[in-house]
């Protein structure tokens, strides 16, 4: 038995989303309110849905699936909401009073996460461990968020209403972009079940001139990039492409070192992650979070690093795999 389960963090997140929905409801932003409400319900019920699914009851998961469809239909209806930020003069004034103290709660987020990631597994409370070993960094992030919130609240002496107002301002800034990583993960699940990856790698296997090691390296490395761009995730591309191309052609046929093939194949995929809007949590969420006007700005800032690095990876794969 452990004290702090991730479920608590998801419940807190659901509460935050309900608060956001409530403020939107009061201002008659119906689509926003419904969107955050459905998302809150999905987060609050997740544990129960997954447990029911494991014990053979598909119905809760199907209802969750309907929730996902509802979110998809609500997303295009969401308009940009101006939640009202404190005026610039006032912010400058407050900053002048608080000075460097303002950094303290902000730095508590990485700081506390770090401490729990390093030492969380050793913490006990009357014989029960506080953190589940596999979850301790994520749980650390959740605990750190709470600690930072309390510190920020204490420091700024903001009224209680401001906590909800400010959370809502940032959550509405994210809007539907917040959801994209989750639905993309769900899409990956469907693609996997529908055998999309296997079909693609079989098609590729038919056109590669297999006798040339260089051609196989190119096919595997670039295949990882293309698959990652399509799936949005190098982890989803890796098993498909390594089973389809890397293992049969590079390792078995040409005798390449599997450790090098695996490592550099994955790194080619990471170069693909830098290029694709499908990797939403890295390339689209920051656009919303940093309020950038062009949805491609982050990818535009990344591709000139990604391409030379990809060339490096392909050369490294070619040279190191056959030492």
């Amino acid at each position: 038995m452990t004290m702090l389960q991730l479920e608590w963090a998801y419940a807190a997140l659901a509460l935050l989303l309900i608060g956001t929905a409530w403020l939107n409801l009061r201002q008659r932003h119906w689509a926003q309110a419904a969107f955050w409400m459905v998302l809150a319900a999905l987060f609050a019920s997740g544990h129960w849905v997954l447990r029911a699914q494991q014990s053979g009851h598909a119905q809760p998961a199907q209802i969750a699936g309907i929730g996902v469809l509802a979110l998809a239909l609500l997303a295009p209806m969401m308009r940009r909401v101006d939640a009202g930020e404190a005026p610039l003069r006032l912010r400058q004034l407050r900053a002048g009073v608080l000075g460097h103290w303002l950094f303290m709660p902000a730095l508590l987020i990485p700081g506390v996460t770090l401490l729990i990631a390093l030492f969380g597994a050793d913490l006990h409370w009357y014989g029960t461990t506080l953190f589940v070993a596999a979850q301790q960094t994520l749980m650390g992030l959740a605990v750190a968020s709470l600690v930072a919130l309390l510190a920020a609240w204490r420091l700024t002496r903001a009224p209680a209403g401001a906590v909800l107002h400010e959370s809502r301002r940032l959550i509405d800034t994210l809007g539907w972009a917040a959801l994209l990583p989750l639905v993309l993960a769900a899409l990956g699940g469907v693609f996997e079940a529908a055998g999309v990856g296997r079909v693609l790698s079989t098609l590729m296997g038919d056109v590669i001139p297999t006798t040339s090691f260089a051609a196989c390296v190119l096919a595997y490395g670039l295949g990882m990039v293309v698959f990652t761009v399509i799936m949005g995730n190098a982890f989803a591309a890796f098993p498909v492409l390594t089973a389809g191309v890397g293992l049969p052609l590079l390792v078995r046929l040409h005798g390449a070192d599997p450790a090098v093939v695996g490592s550099l194949g994955m790194l080619c995929g990471y170069c693909g992650t830098l290029l694709t809007p499908m990797a939403a949590n890295f390339n689209i969420v920051p656009v919303a979070l940093l309020e950038l006007r062009n949805p491609w700005s982050v990818i535009r800032a990344q591709w000139p690093t990604a391409l030379p690095l990809l060339v490096f990876n392909l050369f490294a794969l070619y040279l190191l795999a056959m030492r």
Binding site: Q62, I109, L170, I171, L182, M266
Partner: protein, 238 residues
């Protein structure tokens, strides 16, 4: 072999190209691929629901927003900017390259959630990068300044991503290395995780060198652009 599910991939490409709402596009593509693969509606719904719920951790960063919102209300971004304006030695390229190195090292130690777009980029790195970029582009007119600010923020986000990706894969106890190891074990090949992680080290170094060089060049180009605007303004004034 059933190739019809590939139409789901085509729908995603089309949807992103036509700028339809990405959430709607992605969910529709999932339903389409599932139907074409021969699943029933009930199966697809269960599949969507289960994969969605299994990946809830992807949204945990939202928990950092209440604290960040309160601090922003009290002028965190304005203070970070004013502080950077006073630190003349801390140029935009030094700031970003320093962050890149720190992020890579933390990720190599498995501390991937310590920093991130919500945790550190929005409240700290982005406003600092903006302030540094502005200091290095005196005399830029309003539209050039807005453009440079936007580019500085985007470059800060990119730097965080690159530092995360090309550090994480060197860490042996989670993520990429375990996935690679697990995959090979399932294929009857048993490798040392440390061995896999070591082969990621050259790329980690290359990523640092390439991106640091780029940051250096991009920031120089920004300053040059601001000077060009100023020069043409002076010319027009004369």
């Amino acid at each position: 072999m059933n190739m019809w599910p590939l139409l789901g991939v085509a729908l995603v490409v089309l949807g992103f190209a036509r700028r339809w709402n990405p959430v709607l596009v992605v969910v529709s593509a999932g339903v389409l691929s599932g139907l074409l693969a021969g699943f029933s509606i009930a199966q697809i719904l269960a599949l969507l629901g289960t994969s969605f719920e299994s990946n809830r951790a992807l949204l945990l960063y939202v928990l950092t927003l209440p604290a960040i919102g309160l601090l922003e209300r009290a002028g965190l971004r304005e203070h970070a900017q004013r502080w950077i304006e006073r630190l003349h030695g801390l140029t935009l390229s030094r700031l970003l390259i320093g962050y890149l190195g720190l992020r890579q090292i933390l990720s190599m130690l498995g501390l991937t959630n310590v920093a991130g777009q919500a945790q550190t980029v929005r409240p700290l790195l982005a406003p600092m990068a903006e302030a540094a970029a502005m200091r290095e582009s005196p005399g830029a007119d309003a539209s050039t300044a807005a453009q440079i600010r936007e580019e500085a923020r985007a470059l800060a986000a990119a730097t965080d991503n690159i530092g995360l990706f090309f550090g994480e894969d060197v860490f042996i106890a989670l993520g990429a290395v375990l996935l690679i190891h697990g995959f090979y074990v399932s294929q009857g090949i048993d490798l040392q995780p440390l061995h896999i992680a070591l082969w990621a080290l050259p790329t980690a170094i290359a990523a640092f060198v390439i991106h640091a060089l780029r940051v250096h060049l991009v920031t120089r180009a920004m300053a040059r652009r601001a000077r060009a605007v100023q020069a043409s303004d002076d010319h027009a004034a004369a």
